[in-house]
């Protein structure tokens, strides 16, 4: 059910939240998406103090486990935070609860958000409802499958490279990463601060627009959060796209299978029929190829510093006892997986005095060039679109050729919108080899209204609204 349709009595509301919690528990053996199930009694009690017209009144939701919840275990799916109970709520948790949302649980993710498969979670892989032998995608995998399997209509994630938009594509749902600064990051355990965004999943464009009305807004505790007023995105997402200019990235379409090309072309024809102007645009291929490398350097450098607070001294799991060096060394050795430690080494290497100029600083320069290239296109078009991936979710044990053009460009270009901070979302539209694939839409900064409007037009023609893949 669409969440905007959920206005109901208190009793029905209560039942709804409890049912969602029961369903979350029921699908857990199949999907392994949850880290923690929350108590809902007190939250339902608190609903008495909330206007029944509140935007998310009584809505059951789940939060990615890197979003701090006061008094509730928050692990970021890392062993080092295996016992971490935050002393404060993330800004968005307060906002969601004030809007009437009921948090039924915390969801699995790639350890500290550093991954795209959800295979690195401390609690193990999250399985894809469309094929339990396949990955959910990551890093917000748990949240994605809770929405696609119909447990909740809305779930919070975070997106540093494509960690909301990629799993949305793999799960046939909507994944939104608004403009950098549109949603406060205060209380969200970081990965790479200059790239991190709060994002979320829904099953309809209207819900996506409604969710942003709740989540967006200035927070004085996040200096990067914007003062721009929050718009009425729901009212503006009409699907009226006459004259809207859409650029399809040709470089990516050239690599797509005929099956995906056909469906993409059909969708574009349907948009043209609605009056949109759709053109294929070739972007600078060298810059597209550089995206992953730039992302890798910047994100690991920032992550290394960001996670230096995880030392076992003041909170988290503590090993060692002889000295602070002993505690820090042992806690960080035992607390992080090998993969994460490898990334820290790489980040440290990139930050080192003798390397920083040719690694981090260079990556930042190329980042700016990539953003300029995006803005060249967005100067002429209202939106840049391309398939979020050329394929459905990979098998759990799949490997990919990480040096192929397809991998470098088609599977990793979405981090461009993290470089620029522009709003970007993925919406269901195609099926490749029987698996869902989403279309990525990126617009200019703070033009979420335009982005939702185009998404609404797409939803109207695909009819892929509120699609649920039951696993029970």
């Amino acid at each position: 059910m669409d969440m905007h349709m959920m206005k109901m009595s208190r009793v029905a509301t209560e039942m709804h939240a409890r049912e969602a919690l029961e369903k979350a528990k029921a699908v857990q053996p199949k999907l392994n998406a949850m880290v923690t199930f929350c108590e809902v009694d007190e939250q339902l009690e608190n609903l008495k103090n909330i206007d029944t017209n509140a935007k998310l009144y009584g809505m059951p939701i789940v939060l990615k486990d890197n979003i701090n919840t006061k008094g509730i275990l928050t692990t970021a799916s890392s062993n080092i935070l295996g016992n971490y109970i935050p002393v404060y709520n993330a800004h968005i948790v307060d906002k969601l609860q004030a809007a009437g949302a009921i948090v039924i649980g915390k969801t699995s993710m790639d350890e500290l958000g550093m991954g795209g498969t959800n295979l690195s979670a401390a609690t193990g892989p999250v399985y894809n409802p469309y094929d339990l032998n396949r990955i959910s995608g990551g890093s917000s995998g748990g949240s994605a499958v809770m929405v696609s399997s119909g447990v909740v209509p809305f779930a919070l994630g975070t997106d540093t490279g494509d960690s909301v938009r990629k799993p949305a594509s793999y799960n046939n749902i909507i994944g939104v990463k608004p403009t950098y600064g549109r949603i406060s990051r205060y209380g969200v355990i970081p990965y790479a601060s200059s790239l991190d965004h709060v994002g979320y999943f829904t099953r309809s464009v209207r819900d996506a627009a409604l969710a942003l009305e709740v989540l967006a807004g200035r927070d004085d505790r996040d200096m990067t959060s914007s003062y721009l007023p929050v718009e009425e995105y729901t009212a503006k997402a009409t699907g009226e796209v006459s004259g809207v200019k859409v650029a399809v990235i040709k470089n990516i379409m050239d690599m797509a299978s005929d099956e995906l090309k056909t469906q993409t072309n059909t969708l574009m024809e349907q948009l043209r029929a609605k009056g949109a102007v759709v053109e294929e645009v070739t972007m600078n291929e060298d810059l597209l190829k550089a995206c992953l490398a730039v992302y890798f350097v910047i994100s690991n450098c920032e992550a290394t510093a960001n996670h230096s607070n995880l030392d076992g001294i003041r909170f988290g799991v503590q090993y060692g006892e002889n000295s602070y060096e002993d505690i820090m060394t042992k806690s960080r050795t035992a607390g992080f997986s090998t993969l994460i430690r490898k990334r820290f080494v790489i980040g440290s290497f990139g930050l080192a005095d003798e390397n920083q100029e040719r690694l981090l600083r260079k990556a930042q320069k190329v980042r700016r060039l990539i953003v300029e290239e995006m803005h060249r296109v967005l100067g002429e078009f209202d939106a840049i679109v391309a398939p979020a991936s050329l394929h459905g979710a990979p098998l759990l044990d799949a490997t990919s050729d990480q040096l192929s053009l397809e991998y470098l460009i088609a599977e990793n270009y979405m981090c461009m919108a993290n470089f620029s901070g522009d709003p970007s979302m993925t919406i269901p539209y195609a099926t490749v080899e029987g698996l869902p694939v989403g279309l990525n839409i990126t617009c200019s900064a703070f033009n979420e209204a335009g982005m939702f409007n185009l998404a609404k037009a797409i939803e109207d023609v695909t009819g892929l609204c509120d699609v649920v893949k039951e696993v029970l």
Partner: protein, 474 residues
């Protein structure tokens, strides 16, 4: 061989803000350990820094008073290292773009003026404070995140005396500006000194050592002097100076090596991603500069111009801002500038010193001292009486009430005085005769008799005049 000493100084000054550099937790000296902290100061996951505007304002004051060029585009960087006193694993500082650069201050050393150039002033956050005990290390996070400015000089000082004069000068300026308490013993101002020596005439700097955590201005001078001696002995014995960090041991009056500096530590500085560069409003900077409190030089000029005080009086008053502030408060209620200055400098300070009371905690009211000074000037009480009254004024009492209660008021009423004088003259015809025969001392005797009869309350000046007048009549 003759050596020249070369000294550069880094001062870390805690800014006098109500809250921390990047968090809303309160700043409070002497509060119970770990009571002034929030999740940000403890480096909890998900926290973000929020810059304290007041800290920027105070940094701008410091830059202005030290002639620094102010960078109106404020940027911060991360300095990365692991240590128990650093909860986030990095310190937010201004490595690449300090708010102030290329400044200078003029110091006075034994009558000579000397320019000390400042390389930079930058803002940063303090670390937590550690206490090492036999059963382990304790950490107080109250200090974690307190706003600091670090002031770095060029290697311009050439003696321990100059270094001490520089530190004193900076402490005074920062205190006058309300930027910092500058209390070295409480750690609100911390001083690290870099010292090297080189043969006189040599251009090349010698290998320097760093002396950390000097807790008083006199120790700055002492530590440098003993370190210079140590370095001379090393060189004269044919040994090399090892680059290292030292501390000054007060008891043995020696510098003690803490650790060698083996290659520079790589702090992996990079721009802080959670604070975008902030373009300060130039009008805001101008307003801060216009509304800045007086620095000592300005106050000195004002005292000369408005009060006409002597150089000595001025130097004693402004050496301590609190004393000078008290004097200013007194001067709001009186025009007798010189007399008021005398009373503050001699009587007040000596009583406070004797009782070991700080002027900021003293009970004395400026308005009371002003009214006492006025009464002295108007001859309503004698200087001798004033000293007696002052004992109570220091305790916070109104001099008028004290005089009233003690029945001390001078007899300045001429008819009352005349009555006493004439009765004295009637009793002392010999003295009148003596005076008329040219013995001026006789007047002194007669004044004494009047004083005796009036129980010391006769106004001496009036007594003198009236005596002469009455003798002339006889």
């Amino acid at each position: 061989m003759n050596f020249e000493t070369v000294i550069g100084i880094e001062l870390h000054c805690e800014l006098k803000t109500k809250t921390k550099m990047f968090s809303s937790a309160p700043v409070s000296f002497g509060a119970r350990s770990n009571s002034c902290v929030n999740e940000i100061d403890l480096g909890h996951p998900g926290t973000l820094p929020c810059l304290n505007k007041k800290a920027v304002e105070l940094a701008i004051r410091a830059c202005t008073a030290t002639n620094c060029t102010i960078d109106s585009l404020v940027k911060f960087d991360r300095k990365n290292y692991y240590y128990t006193d650093l909860p986030k694993g990095f310190q937010i500082t201004q490595q690449f773009h300090p708010i102030g650069s290329n400044g200078y201050v003029i110091i006075d050393v034994e009558g000579e003026q000397k320019k000390v150039r400042l390389n930079r002033i930058h803002m940063e956050e303090d670390t937590a404070k550690q206490f090492h005990y036999s059963d382990g290390t304790y950490v107080d996070y109250n200090r974690s995140g307190i706003p600091l400015i670090e002031i770095v000089t060029e290697a311009d000082m050439r003696s321990g005396k100059e270094a001490a004069a520089y530190v004193e000068k900076m402490r005074n300026i920062l205190y006058y500006l309300g930027v910092s308490d500058g209390k070295m013993e409480e750690g609100s101002m911390r001083c690290d000194v870099n010292v090297s020596i080189r043969p006189v005439g040599s251009e090349k700097f010698g290998t320097k050592t760093e002396i950390k955590n000097l807790n008083s201005i006199s120790n700055v001078q002492k530590a440098i002097e003993v370190e210079v001696e140590r370095q001379k002995e090393e060189i004269e014995a044919g040994r090399e100076i090892i680059q290292a960090t030292y501390r000054f041991d007060e008891a043995t009056r020696k510098t003690v090596m803490m650790r060698k500096k083996e290659g520079a530590v790589d702090y992996k500085y990079f721009p802080e991603p959670n604070i975008f560069p902030i373009q300060l409003d130039l009008n805001w900077i101008k307003k801060i500069q216009e509304e800045m409190p007086e620095v000592p030089e300005q106050r000195k000029a004002r005292y000369e111009k408005e009060y006409g005080l002597s150089e000595y009086d001025i130097s004693v008053l402004i050496a301590n801002k609190d004393v000078s502030d008290f004097y200013d408060a007194v001067m709001k209620h009186t025009t007798n500038a010189k007399l008021a200055a005398n009373w503050v400098i001699t009587e007040l300070l000596s009583i406070l010193n004797k009782n070991n009371v700080d002027i900021t905690n003293a009970k004395i009211q400026p308005v009371h001292l002003a009214s006492m000074v006025d009464m002295i000037a108007k001859d309503e009480i004698s200087g001798k009486q004033a000293k007696e009254v002052f004992v109570d004024v220091v305790e916070g009492k109104d001099p008028k009430a004290v005089i009233e209660a003690k029945g001390m008021k001078q007899v300045s009423d001429s008819s009352a005085l005349l009555a006493i004088i004439n009765s004295v003259l009637d009793e002392q015809p010999q003295s009148i005769q003596d005076y008329k025969n040219g013995k001026d001392r006789a007047i002194g005797f007669l004044v004494g008799q009047v004083m005796k009869k009036s129980k010391g309350q006769a106004n001496p000046k009036m007594t003198n005049q009236l005596l002469l007048q009455e003798i002339a009549k006889r």
